[in-house]
């Protein structure tokens, strides 16, 4: 089997996690490369979560929250939105390609959109190949 990306998804409980559940109840198929971790709000996502996932060999990380104006916690998604560019700047310094880390808005009714986001991201990362950290981790393991 060729390269299969490992992607970690952080989804807010109220919109995006519910949207991902809706994709399930609607039986909308998407690629199985994303494992989802639920948080209450996209504002809860500490940049270290993303760094941790990448340092553990994730090929990509997707953060999903409620659309602007639609946050269950009034303004949590705006906090995520403002923190995100800072994180991206840092990741760029580390040499992490732009496509690997994404912030997407998925509402509770957008099961279809969630599947499209995941498929698009999976395809793009598959084309990009494994992350440099993953390659290094795998090499270290072989050495040991």
């Amino acid at each position: 089997m060729g390269f299969e990306p490992r992607i970690v998804g952080f989804l807010c409980n109220w919109c995006s996690y519910t949207g991902a559940d809706l994709a399930g109840t609607s039986r909308i198929k998407y690629q199985p490369n994303v494992s989802i971790i639920r948080v209450m709000c996209s504002a809860r996502i500490d940049p270290t979560f993303v760094l941790k996932a990448l340092s553990m060999g994730a090929d990509g990380v997707v953060i999903c929250g409620c659309h602007p104006v639609d946050c269950h916690y009034i303004s949590g998604n705006y906090k995520a939105m403002r923190r995100f560019p800072l994180l991206k700047k840092l990741l760029k310094e580390f040499g992490v390609e732009d496509e690997r880390v994404r912030l997407e808005w998925v509402s509770a009714s957008e099961g279809q959109r969630f599947s499209e986001v995941i498929n698009d991201m999976t395809d793009k990362i598959r084309a990009l190949g494994p992350s440099k950290i993953r390659v290094q981790l795998d090499a270290d393991k072989v050495e040991r």
């Binding site: 490992r6 519910t18 998407y30 494992s35 906090k79």
Partner: protein
């Protein structure tokens, strides 16, 4: 800590919902060797009585102190399994669920990959659960007063139901009178009883009831607080503001009708005698169905699904229009016995009690039914000069396969229901979600149809989706059953999941004070530390991620717990590589 835990893992195959895509035995085979796992089993329905009892017995037999259930979404059965382990003697927060149905078996079509992902998700849960902490539910008082937003048939019914149980109600109506959309209607289908009769009694009882405060020309300005303890500001007549305290909120804001002028081919706004269903209601209420020139129409064509079931406008069915169209066929026949009535429909949805009989009776009264393809709707044009009728309706009748031209003096457009233009504002006000069409989303479409994602806020009637009167009334009453149950308990239990500040780590920088959308963080100038007011905290975790000192902990969503999950999903994957 990890090695000392005794974790029980339960993998549900949900009949075949999970089992037919995920190899549950392979998941248990893998999971049972993970550190800390004392017992691991799969079963066809973990949520059933035998499934839950299996967990309860195992807790005692194996001395389990943590439980992982790999099954459906925690949004579905987390309360069920929390109750089960609680019954087994464990703190309910010692549970973690792995979502291997909605986010795995139902969305993937490769057995191996789905099974692999189920293993990764279960592994993440097993790694997370040792770091769970026990919490006790918090008890808060329940204010027995309720706020009902919207004075249509749903709001009136809900208000009466609560007032009859001796509980105070504030009924807020935007308009200058009660009755909502039902007040615009003449007769109701399928029994043709008068809407006025249904409403007059309700309105009379509401206005006379001392328990109900009716606030007309009023709007809710703001809402704060939480279940059992909300505060609201009501603005009346554009100025006077009243502050009220309530325990529950029922949203019954109804619907608006589809704007028929959007459908160019029907000529609404261009031809004076093309009218909407609500225009016709007005005529029926006045007791005379006439054209703009005052004459009685001889040929009437009723077109269904205007703005509904269409790729161009609204995709959904508005549910009430088919029967309303039949009501019009009957009504026009009574007002103008010589009228020649044609009903153009896409499908005849006669699903309610008494509706199929109503359809048959209407057909017997000489209404001509013609079916059209919803993708090829009929067109309305002006009749040629010298014709004895004023419009011509062309339709591809799909049962006969013929193109039919129908003379028309009046065309009635059965406009569908739409979410109100202010539904977004209302949703923001009470903090609930809307679906893609703007309807408010219920907690669970089948099992919890009137509750919402915000505890203490309920929805009833056509603000949640197109609905007929019986369903609207049933929902209104259902909301009050939910509220009265809480009032009877006297106090309510809220989740003890909130953020906490470690005073020893807090530098007193006050960054979190500004981050909190609920002003739930206070600064103590003497101690020079911030502290969270737990009942006001809604546990978003925005302050946790924002604290530069790492001094804030999100209960049940700690950094450690999330790190363990990240390791879980990735370790499993790399161990396989």
């Amino acid at each position: 800590m990890t090695t000392e835990c005794k974790i029980g893992v339960y993998v549900c195959s949900c009949g075949t919902n999970i089992g037919k895509m995920v190899d549950c035995d392979a998941v248990t085979g893998y999971t049972k060797n993970l550190p800390g796992v004392a017992v691991c089993k799969s079963y066809k329905y973990m949520c059933s009585n035998p499934g839950q009892e299996m967990i309860v017995k195992d807790i005692q037999r194996y001395g389990l102190d943590r439980v992982v259930v790999a099954a459906c979404s925690p949004r579905m059965h987390e309360p069920t399994f929390r109750a089960a382990i609680s019954h087994g003697g464990l703190n309910p927060y010692y549970l973690e669920m792995a979502n291997i149905r909605e986010q795995c078996s139902w969305v993937h079509d490769d057995h191996q990959q789905a099974t692999d992902k189920a293993k990764a998700l279960t592994c993440a849960a097993v790694k997370r659960v040792p770091f769970h902490e026990p919490f006790d539910m918090q008890s808060v008082p329940m204010n027995s007063a309720s706020l009902v937003i919207g004075g249509g048939v749903a709001g009136l019914t809900a208000a009466l139901e609560l007032a009859d149980a001796n509980q105070p109600v504030y009924l807020v109506e935007k308009d200058g009178k009660l009755g909502g959309n039902l007040a615009r209607i003449d007769l109701t289908s399928p029994y043709l009883d008068s809407a006025k009769d249904l409403l007059a009694e309700r309105i009379c009882r509401v206005t006379k009831n001392p328990k109900i405060t009716v606030m007309l020309n009023s709007e809710v300005e703001s809402i704060s607080g939480y279940v059992g303890n909300f505060k609201a500001q009501i603005k009346s007549n554009g100025e006077a503001v009243t502050d009220i305290e309530i325990g529950s909120i029922i949203v019954c804001t109804g619907f608006r009708e589809f704007d028929a002028s959007k459908v160019g081919e029907y000529g609404y706004g261009r031809f004076p005698n093309v009218v909407t269903s609500f225009d016709l209601e007005k005529m029926l209420k006045e007791g005379r169905v006439v054209m703009k020139d005052g004459k009685t129409p001889k040929y009437v064509t009723i077109i269904n699904c205007v703005g509904s079931r269409s790729g161009k406008y609204n995709r959904y069915c508005s549910r009430v229009c088919c029967m309303t169209a039949l009501k019009y066929a009957n009504g026009i026949k009574s007002a103008a016995p010589d009228a020649f009535i044609t009903n153009l429909y896409t499908d005849m949805n006669a699903f309610g009690k008494g509706c199929e009989d109503f359809y048959r009776r209407s057909a017997e009264r000489d209404t001509i039914f013609m079916m059209f393809d919803k993708h090829a709707p009929p067109t309305v044009s002006a009749a040629g000069k010298g014709e004895h009728f004023n419009m011509l309706v062309k339709v591809n009748e799909i049962l006969s396969g013929e193109e039919v031209e129908i003379p028309a003096d009046m065309v009635v457009l059965m406009v569908g229901m739409e979410a109100r233009e202010d539904s977004m504002n209302v949703a923001r006000l009470v903090n609930i979600s809307r679906d893609k069409d703007g309807w408010f989303i219920e907690s669970h479409p089948k099992l919890d149809p009137v509750a919402t994602s915000t505890d203490g806020v309920f929805i009833a009637g056509a603000c949640a989706s197109p609905k007929d009167i019986p369903d609207t009334v049933a929902q209104a009453r259902a909301t009050t059953a939910r509220i009265l149950a809480k009032i009877c308990q006297g106090e309510i239990w809220v989740e003890p999941v909130y953020a906490e500040i470690n005073e020893d780590l807090c530098s007193g920088c006050r960054v979190c004070n500004e981050l909190c959308p609920y002003s739930a963080i206070d600064y103590d100038p003497v101690k020079k530390r911030s502290a969270i007011i737990s009942v006001m905290c809604k546990s978003c975790g925005g302050c946790v991620a924002g604290c530069p000192s790492g001094a804030i902990k999100a209960r049940h969503f700690t950094d450690k717990q999330i790190f363990e999950q990240i390791e879980g999903v990735l370790e499993w994957a790399s161990s396989r590589a």
